[in-house]
Amino acid sequence: MTQVKAKAPKQGLLNIHLTSTISMSLVLFLIGMVFLLLLVAHDTSTYVKENINLSVILEDGVGKQDVKRIENFLTESSFAKSVDYISKADALKDHIANLGENPQDFLGYNPLKASIEVKLHAAYANNDSVTEIEAKLKPFPHINRIIYQKDMVSLVNDNVKKISFILLGLAVVLLFVSIALINNTIRLSLYSNRFLINTMKLVGATPWFIRKPYLMRSMLNGLIAALISILLLGGVVYFVQYEFGISGMMFYSLNFLFVAFIVILSGVFLSAVSSYFAVGKYLRMHSNEMFSM
């Protein structure tokens, strides 16, 4: 008797619905994109805030020890990120470098004052904190005045707050959209399995035994979708860096790891939860109901 070998059935790794994987990876891509934007916005605002100087202008003829005392106070404080003393001579050099003329030539003396340039930590770069810092510096003698661009700071803060708020709202909406989409995709692919699930029930398999392979498969599916979307995200990040040459400025790699983690987590977790409930629905259903849905 000749036997015709039957085609081997699809199984395991290959038994993944390609279309549902791709649609899931697109949704995860959007989630990752929003999170990435959120982080970039945060980093950018930190970068801007920490580059606004608080200048402590010193009176002429201030003693070295007084300068040292103020400098020490600032270095030891929690709010200063960096403290730089700029002497009268240094200030003059800067001035010449910037404007190309030496005021000493026509004034006969150096009109510029020595100063201590402080860069604040982002958390302190707001008007309230700066007012407090001013109050703390007041007791020190020989401080002429303190300059800080309060307008600019509040402008930056306001804008960052607005943008973050919008992005966060967008992230929440997208999260809902993706939950609905992923849930739908998984329920659709499980719908075709409802009679199989019923059969498994009839031959004495426990609910957990039936659920397990479906859960594993859709979690794997979610993982693959997450990896695809991470590839896409990586491509976008690479393109942006390459095209606009801003690679050094943002702390991309750490952010990207964080976003990748979120994308994988939400991909796997959402698939697991959706398929858990979708299988559960058919596990509870009597075979009669399966025909009338």
Binding site: A6, P9, V203
Partner: protein, 229 residues
């Protein structure tokens, strides 16, 4: 050998959804018995069998199967009842997405078998019993109706159940193969397994002696040997 009471139904009404199918069912089946269920199409044979393996809930009377109280059985416990029963479904209920071998493998794995060598041996032995040894690699849709039927019987035999429920097991078979299979079930009975078989094939009743129940007009009644024709 003392006969164990496997099924005890007292004053049971069986509903298919809202429709009353059988009322006041009194049924006692002991181990080692061979029981026929006869009756017209739609008279409730399948529904009665479904109630035994807890696919249809029983809401009145006393109903006990293999030590389980059907009226009190939780959904999570019904797998354990079903493991003790081998069921030959009228509509086969094979897992259409995998081969015959994988179908049988699934059932053994689901019922707690771990040793793959023992699993393979058991699968081979039941496939030989139904004469399908060579067809293990096939998908269900590649088999004829009769072949699928035999696989379903093989599956019912897998866990050496205390009771086999067979819903029209000869329905798709030629008379010869049908006889062979019923003979197989009849032999299994000798090892103490109860067989309950719904059938339209009244010729079988002559060849293989057993108790006969008839479903008629919402009633289930045992009939004496001579009066079934």
């Amino acid at each position: 050998m003392e006969k164990k009471l496997l099924i005890k139904y007292v004053d049971v009404d069986i509903y298919q959804q809202e429709l009353l199918v059988l009322k006041n069912v009194q049924l006692e089946v002991h181990s080692g018995e061979f029981v026929y269920l006869v009756g017209k199409v739609g008279s409730g044979k399948t529904t009665l069998l479904k109630s035994i393996y807890h696919e249809i809930p029983i809401l009145s009377g006393v109903a006990g199967v293999l030590g389980y109280d059907l009226r009190d059985l939780k959904l999570n416990d019904s797998p354990f009842l079903r493991r003790k029963i081998g069921i030959v479904f009228q509509d086969f209920q094979l897992l259409t997405d995998r081969t015959v071998y994988q179908n049988l493998n699934f059932v053994l794995k689901a019922t707690g078998w771990k040793d793959q060598i023992a699993i393979d041996e058991q699968i081979n032995s039941v496939l030989i019993q139904v004469g399908m040894k060579e067809k293990g690699y096939k998908m269900p849709h590649q088999l004829s109706g009769g072949e699928q039927q035999r696989i379903v019987i093989a599956r019912a035999l897998l866990n050496s159940p205390e009771m086999i429920l067979a819903d029209e097991p000869t329905g798709n078979l030629d008379p010869e193969t049908g006889n062979e299979l019923v003979e197989l079930l009849y032999k299994i009975r000798l090892s103490g397994t109860t067989v309950i078989m719904a059938t339209h094939n009244l010729n079988l009743l002559d060849k293989f002696q057993g108790r006969v129940f008839r479903c008629e007009n919402e009633n289930l009644a045992e009939i004496s040997d001579e009066s079934y024709i």
